[in-house]
């Protein structure tokens, strides 16, 4: 099987790139080593669609950030992904901070960020963000900043790409690449694939992927960011995204509501040499707490539900690497996509399509391209009338599996059956919220294992939490043998 384009990595960048390419008459495959899409940076980040005053003018970051932010409005509608333009504040705590804000304001204006405004004093700031600390000296307000759900966006993009005939291969790790007769031969954990072009969207591993064709032009130096997630009871402690003025030593801790109504605070920033290190540490979480309370002192820490870590694919070049490889023009990098990569992803995807065209790929519009993807209907959000109608059409809507978030069997089955559907308990959780509530899966985990086992036609013992051998069960009990 020969593809026109093979995309390495089903993070938000790879997924949106595949979706962009699926607008054209092309044979596309996405190769993802994880058991689920969005298993890298795209599953654990701040979920913010940045306004764009942060990156230095003239960089790819600045360009794709502002463009990406603009594109989100339509994209989120087409793909039915949560998107809320709630605006952001960068808090200043003293006059030195206010000077930095002034610079950010000017930078933002140069980058083309709309609506920026500098608020002076606590009162003006508190009018927008009532729970903010009284120590605040002022803030930079960016009304175009927004929040979204990064993994939902990635799922949506992959599903839509698949609906437009792209192929997605999970648990398919690219191990080596050779180039002969104008074709890449890609060796994967599931066998060989050939493709005319490759897009490298391998996140923290994008330098490894580059090295497979002998391209050592950049290196990824991963940086960890740790977070705390709080219960919905704390969700309205922040109405906007609340940043702190960056200093030379720290970018500060942010506090933001999530699209699901929880409160998120973080991230820290520490270098790591381990590209799979998603552990959290007390000392880091303490930094998150201290930072968050500095901005919003009233947060109730008893309401912490969980902590998690995301890994940034920080390149040693300081800017995104979105260009053909110097080694082979048909190998396009979308690499080193650290923050604001989520925001930039739609713009990067469009740009990558252009780079492929420049490299000789013919882009012929597909007449039957369907830009619309529907999200899984959430029983919990439906009106009573709609609920009754849903159950009338499918009895599985009448069977509640996750009691805390009121997720029904129908939603879970759909999450499994969709293209690139859920195979693991965490994949079900991220797609449906089953297990994300108060009891954190205590009750529903056994039933989700049962449904996965039934739908996938595999024994319950082989059902995993996430990747690799993360099996939940170790065997049958004695009596059952």
């Amino acid at each position: 099987m020969t593809y026109d384009v093979a995309v390495i990595g089903a993070g938000v960048v790879g997924a949106l790139t595949a979706r962009e390419l699926s607008k054209y008459e092309l044979r596309i495959c996405i190769l993802e080593k994880g058991a689920d899409v969005a298993s890298g940076s795209s599953k654990a980040n701040s979920a913010i669609v940045h306004a764009g005053y942060d990156p230095l003018p003239g960089t790819l970051k600045a360009r794709f950030n502002v463009k990406g932010n603009e594109m989100f409005e339509r994209l989120s509608q087409e793909l039915e992904v949560p998107f809320k333009r709630i605006g952001s504040l960068v808090l200043a705590f003293n006059e030195a901070d206010m000077e930095v804000l002034q610079k950010l304001y000017e930078r933002g204006a140069e980058n083309g960020v709309p609506g920026l405004e500098i608020l002076r004093g606590y009162e003006d700031t508190a009018r927008i963000e009532p729970n903010v600390s009284t120590d605040v000296a002022g803030a930079l307000y960016a009304p175009s900043a927004a929040i979204t759900c990064p993994y939902e966006l990635t799922y949506a993009a992959v599903e839509n790409a698949a609906a437009n005939r792209a192929e997605i291969m999970l648990e398919t790790e690219v191990a080596g690449i050779s180039y002969e007769d104008d074709l890449f031969k890609i060796t994967t954990s599931q066998g060989d694939i050939s493709s005319r072009f490759i897009v490298n969207a391998a996140g923290v591993f994008s330098d490894n992927a580059a090295a497979m064709i002998g391209d050592n032009s950049f290196e990824i130096k991963p940086r960890k960011g740790e977070y705390l997630l709080l219960d919905k009871s704390q969700g309205d402690m922040a109405r906007t995204i609340v940043f702190q003025t960056p200093s030379t030593t720290s970018k500060g801790i942010l506090v933001t509501p999530t699209v699901d109504g929880n409160l998120l605070m973080g991230p820290t920033s520490t270098d790591t040499s381990d590209r799979e290190d998603l552990s959290t540490a007390i000392s880091e979480l303490q930094k998150v707490i201290n930072g968050a309370l500095r901005s919003v002192p009233g947060i109730n820490l008893k309401q912490v539900i969980t902590s998690f870590t995301g890994l940034r694919a920080t390149p040693d070049t300081s800017d995104f690497i979105v260009s053909p490889s110097p080694v082979n023009k048909k190998f396009i990098h979308a690499a080193g996509i650290e923050s604001p990569g989520l925001t930039a992803a739609p713009a990067i995807a469009e740009y990558v399509a252009g780079l492929l065209k420049d490299a000789g790929l013919e882009l012929v519009q597909r007449k039957d391209f369907n830009p619309v993807r529907k999200s899984i209907v959430r029983f919990n959000d439906a009106s009573d009338g709609k609920k009754a109608e849903l159950i009338g059409g499918n009895r599985q809507y009448g069977r509640v599996i996750c009691r805390c978030e009121l997720v029904t069997e129908a939603e879970i089955v759909e999450a499994i059956r969709r293209p690139a559907g859920a195979r693991t308990v965490d994949a079900v959780k991220r797609r449906t919220r089953a297990g994300m509530g108060r009891c954190q899966g205590g009750f529903c985990a056994p039933r989700i294992v049962e449904i996965l086992s039934r739908e996938l036609g595999v024994p319950a013992e082989s059902i995993r939490k996430t990747d690799g051998s993360s099996m939940l069960l170790t065997g049958r009990t004695k009596e059952a043998l």
């Binding site: 159950i391 009895r395 805390c404 009750f443 056994p446 319950a460 993360s470 069960l473 170790t474 059952a480």
Partner: protein, 448 residues
Amino acid sequence: MREADIVIIGGGPAGMAAAIEASKNGNKNIVLLERDRTLGGILQQCVHNGFGLHLFGEELTGPEYAERFIRQINELDIDVKLDTMVFDISKDKVVTAVNSEDGLIKLKARSIVLSTGCRERTRGALNIPGTRPAGIYTAGTAQRFVNMEGYMPGRKVVILGSGDIGLIMARRMTLEGAEVKMVCELMPYSGGLKRNIVQCLDDYNIPLKLSHTVVEIHGRERLEGVTVAKADEQGRPVDGTYEYVECDTLLLSVGLIPENELIGALPIEMDGTTSGPVVDESAQTSCEGIFACGNSVYVHDLVDYVTLEGYKAGKCAAEYVASLSSGSNAGSDVPVAGVGAKGTTAAEPKDMIRIKSGHGIRSVVPQQVHRECREDVRLFFRVGGIYHNAAFAVDSGDKTLHSVKRRIVTPGEMESIILTADMISKIKGDTVILSMPAGQEKGGEVNE
């Protein structure tokens, strides 16, 4: 919309008892709603002996105990809806539920009994730093896997928290061939029953490490080990006491919490200590016609008391409904406050005596009794520490109504004291306080 006299939410021992007693008290329009596939609640996953000693004088397994009540429910021909999840109760007592047969169900109730049980705490425990591998479960989830689904959640086990489910699972996993390395308890005392410590840990040489906690989780895909450390009085890990323990499973047994999400917007007063609603001696909440019993009010150790409480709630609900029909406005759904048999109607605050927890007492239930109550009332309470030769007193103003002594009390064990009708009639003010007179020394471990 279908109308029902009494809608009972939750078919565990509390809800089943309420249904039976309401029916025996003459009400024939009862609906019992249960989200699980069977009645019995938590009992169905407790295959160990130890249920019913007080009520039946014999030791039954959980399912055996449940079966006795399920049989009665069937004999009384009570309308039971299984696989039915209630997700809303409106202020005018419309109960909304779903199941796959009837779809969306709306029931207009004249009276409601909340018997939704409790759930396991996870918050905090899931905050342990480190990785997020497979192999971390609450003890109850593990119990469900082993006892109901026939699967082993792991082979080498560390248990965090010494709640009863954790203790019982320590034994269960051992009997299933797993190696249970230790039970770590943050507090200097166990949260479980003494009997369970002896029968589930000591008998199997499983160490109980008091004042110890898990400080880090290791392993990427499946759990590979945990770091355990001694904790100081504030619960902080003590340097130099860190120990790596290899294991593939961590069970959390860090307590139970009444399940009361349904109360949501209802004007029902809650007790911050028990996390359940405030109830009176007739199991009625502060919302007229809404009763609550069992683990949804406070976490019980023994099912026998849950059943007795369920009986009371069912009986009082039936009396309440009868009082509505026999009242001056018979047939109307609008009850008249103060009209009602045997004090089952929610009273004005001035007709109520508040029972408060004083020194040494963590919580007490019921939290209030009617002034005109003419029955003895058993007050259930938990203490805040371990005490030897402890004295308890119920005081009204500067008068002591009643006092008792116990040889040993621990937070893991529910205690009770009876307020007689006579004592209640002597109460002058609007509060009484249950406390341990000051000066009693907290003891250390319970080693006898």
